[in-house]
């Protein structure tokens, strides 16, 4: 068969969809069948920088012998060809014993069967993939066409090995990406931290084919009971070494592998590879992730690029944990806000109920006074017998009883005693704004907050002051008829040498009619249909009880500003006085 035809066959095979070993072995068979060669063997360069005798023609005799030992680059003829990337040929006269490598003792009885030996590097411009080794018994030296032919074959095999490497690395990359995306999905979920961490260890272990994965959190983090989350079995002898690794990672704040650890005895006896990486976020040490797997296990993603992988994973987990922490915090805050909202709604209902009760009590009181008053007069004016007198007494007793009940109701409606404590006013303003803005009726109202940074805590009964602010905000809402702008500002003011915290609420409701402005704090004064006229009266009373006062800036045609001034202790001022 003409070499061109042989090459044609080889190219067809190398471009086929067969598995890599089948393709290369088929090519080597063709070479030994159609050309005067007896042995065709391919060494490949593996990730550990050693040459493995991996592919052969079917009838190869030398393969089992050469397969006994994996030589380094530079070692023996194969190693030297791989190193220099130059083809080398020998005859039976000048070929070095055992092909230049002492670890092939079994070759001694075989080498003399062959007369020509040829080694061709399999490489491209940048990378060496392996070495093609040919033996021939029918000739002493290969001629030029042979050489040209073999270098073309070597190039073809190189192509196969290259595309296979690309395939493997892209598979790895895809599996890495799949793992990371899976991790991302878990980390972004709103599950509880324990579930997230358990899922993380499981995903990593499965993706990396690891024997075990363990995440250890530092004590203060996440405030959850368990600090360690593990998937897989950790042997008892590994536990100690993992703890050592984790300590080392914490101290150095970088990835540490078993090889870095100064534990000779352990390293020599173990068959496990271990990597441990720090989980850090914004410079804070959150914990460690440790991945372990058998060293000999082939196909483990940990082989070769373990450090890179674990660091990528650690980054993912770190940012995920930070998110989890934020989510947990957010959940707490939301819970608190919800309960605050419930409390406020309760209060508001109670307040309205209180005002309504007060009104009803007031309305009942008048007729009762009239009934009782005239009954008394009647009793005085008329001469009554014993029975009639008893009737009158009963009426008067019942009237007195009703009056007492009404007084009791009215007393109950009165605000409860003040509970003064240092309250962060910006917090409860935020709470109120959250409450109001979550009501769809307020969606056309834009609320701006400006907090002074020189004031934070104000001694007050926050529940009562909230009531005051609710009253003012509700009035603003009514004045603006449900649409406009509200600006809430806090500030500090010295009045008569005494410091006051001020909360000002401005609206764009057109201001207050000057004719009524003097009356707005009077009880029962109202401009609203169905208003009780008690809201601002009670608000004013509350603020006065606190030793403060409410000030009004009225811009007719524009809006009104209510400023609540509350006295504060000198020590609560954080910065210089304004």
């Amino acid at each position: 068969m003409h070499p061109i035809d042989i090459l044609g066959k080889i190219i067809a095979i190398s471009h086929s969809n067969l598995e890599i070993a089948s393709r290369i072995n088929a090519i080597l068979n063709i070479i030994t069948q159609d050309m005067p060669f007896d042995e065709a063997i391919v060494y490949t360069l593996d990730t550990d920088k050693k040459l493995t005798c991996r592919y052969k023609n079917d009838k190869s005799v030398l393969f089992p012998l050469l397969n006994e030992y994996r030589s380094h680059i530079g070692e023996g003829i194969v190693g030297s060809v791989a190193q220099k990337r130059i083809p080398q040929g020998f005859t039976f006269k000048d070929v070095p014993p055992r092909l230049g490598c002492l670890f092939y003792p079994d070759l001694d009885g075989y080498i003399q069967k062959y007369r020509a030996f040829h080694f061709i590097p399999i490489s491209d411009d940048s990378y060496l993939y392996g070495v093609l080794f040919i033996c021939a018994s029918s000739m002493e030296r290969l001629n030029k066409p042979h050489n040209a032919f073999l270098s073309m074959v070597a190039r073809e095999i190189g192509g196969i090995l290259r595309s296979n490497q690309l395939l493997i690395s892209s598979k790895k990359r895809i599996s890495e990406l799949a793992t990371l995306s899976e991790l991302g999905r878990v980390l972004a979920s709103s599950s509880i931290p324990q579930d997230i961490l358990n899922s993380i260890t499981f995903i990593i272990a499965k993706a990396l084919n690891a024997a075990f994965v363990t995440v250890r959190l530092s004590h203060s983090f996440l405030k959850i009971d368990s600090q360690r989350f593990t998937y897989g079995e950790i042997g008892s002898e590994s536990k100690e070494i993992i703890k050592k690794l984790e300590m080392e990672v914490k101290n150095q704040e970088k990835t540490v592998s078993l090889k870095d650890l100064d534990t000779e005895g352990y390293r020599n006896t173990t068959s496990t590879s271990l990597y441990s990486a720090p989980l850090t976020s914004k410079g804070r040490f959150l914990g460690t992730v440790t991945i372990g797997g058998p060293i000999t296990q082939s196909g483990s993603v940990m082989e070769g690029n373990g450090r890179y992988l674990i660091e990528t994973i650690a980054n993912y987990i770190s940012s995920g944990l930070e998110n989890t922490l934020l989510t947990t915090k957010l959940k707490d805050v939301l819970k608190e806000l919800n309960s605050a909202q419930e409390r406020l709604v309760e209060q508001e209902t109670f307040r309205n109920l209180g005002e309504m009760t007060a009104n009803i009590a007031h309305e009942i009181k008048n007729p009762l006074v009239i009934i009782g008053g005239f009954t008394k007069r009647l009793a005085r004016k008329t001469r009554l017998d014993l029975t009639e007198n008893r009737y009158i007494e009963i009426i008067l007793k019942e009237v007195a009883r009703l009056e007492a009940i009404l007084d009791e109701v009215l007393n109950y409606v009165k605000e409860s005693p003040m509970v003064i404590k240092d309250s962060k006013i910006s917090d409860f303003i935020d709470e109120l704004v959250f409450l109001f803005t979550s009501d769809s009726a307020w969606e056309k109202i834009e609320i701006t907050r400006e907090y002074a940074n020189n004031i934070s805590f104000v001694p007050c009964d926050d529940q009562q002051i909230k009531q005051v602010l609710i009253n003012i905000l509700m009035n603003a809402y009514d004045a603006m008829q449900g649409s406009g702008k509200i600006v809430i500002q806090t500030g500090l003011k010295i009045i008569n040498d005494r410091p006051f915290a001020s909360i000002s609420i401005s609206d764009t409701g057109g201001g207050i009619d000057p004719a009524i402005i003097d009356n707005i704090f009077n009880p029962f004064f109202t401009t609203k249909d169905g208003g009780t006229g008690l809201g601002l009266a009670i608000s004013n009373k509350i603020v006065l009880n606190h030793g403060g006062y409410i000030q009004i800036h009225n811009l007719i045609g524009k809006g009104a500003t209510f400023i609540v001034h509350l006295p504060i202790k000198n020590t609560t001022i954080r910065e210089e006085r304004i």
């Binding site: 007031h362 009181k365 003097d518 009077n522 009880p523 004064f525």
Partner: protein, 120 residues
């Protein structure tokens, strides 16, 4: 001795009637008004020794009326008389001279009037 003249201001006709009867029996001369504006008008055109003023009234409420009355004659004693006890402790800040919670038992009202007129 000349009878002391009282002005009772209340939007409830029967309260006016009751107080008038009760206080006339005590020897006072009693006139009545049914709201703040009418009360101010009466204070402007007649002489009174004391005014009993309801707070919650339509039109002009008692606190507004109180200020107007004090503007006209700051020496004229005014008692606020409301069914609502909530603001009893605040009466002095509104320039009123007394605060009585309305009751079928008129003794407290009578006593407060007596005290104020006795001092005056």
């Amino acid at each position: 001795m000349k009878k002391a003249r009282l002005l009772i201001v209340d939007d409830e006709e029967n309260i006016r009637f009751l107080f008038k009867e009760e206080l006339e029996e005590e020897g006072y001369s009693v006139d009545v008004a049914s709201n703040g504006l009418e009360a101010i008008d009466k204070v402007k055109h007649a002489v009174f020794d004391l005014v009993v003023l309801d707070i919650k009234m339509p039109g002009m409420n008692g606190i507004e009326a109180l200020n107007e009355i004090k503007n006209i004659n700051k020496n004229l004693p005014v008692i606020l008389c409301s069914a609502y006890g909530e603001f009893k402790q605040d009466f002095s800040s509104w320039a009123s001279d007394g605060y009585v919670v309305k009751s079928a038992d008129t003794n407290e009202l009578k006593q407060t009037i007596k005290n104020l007129l006795g001092v005056a």
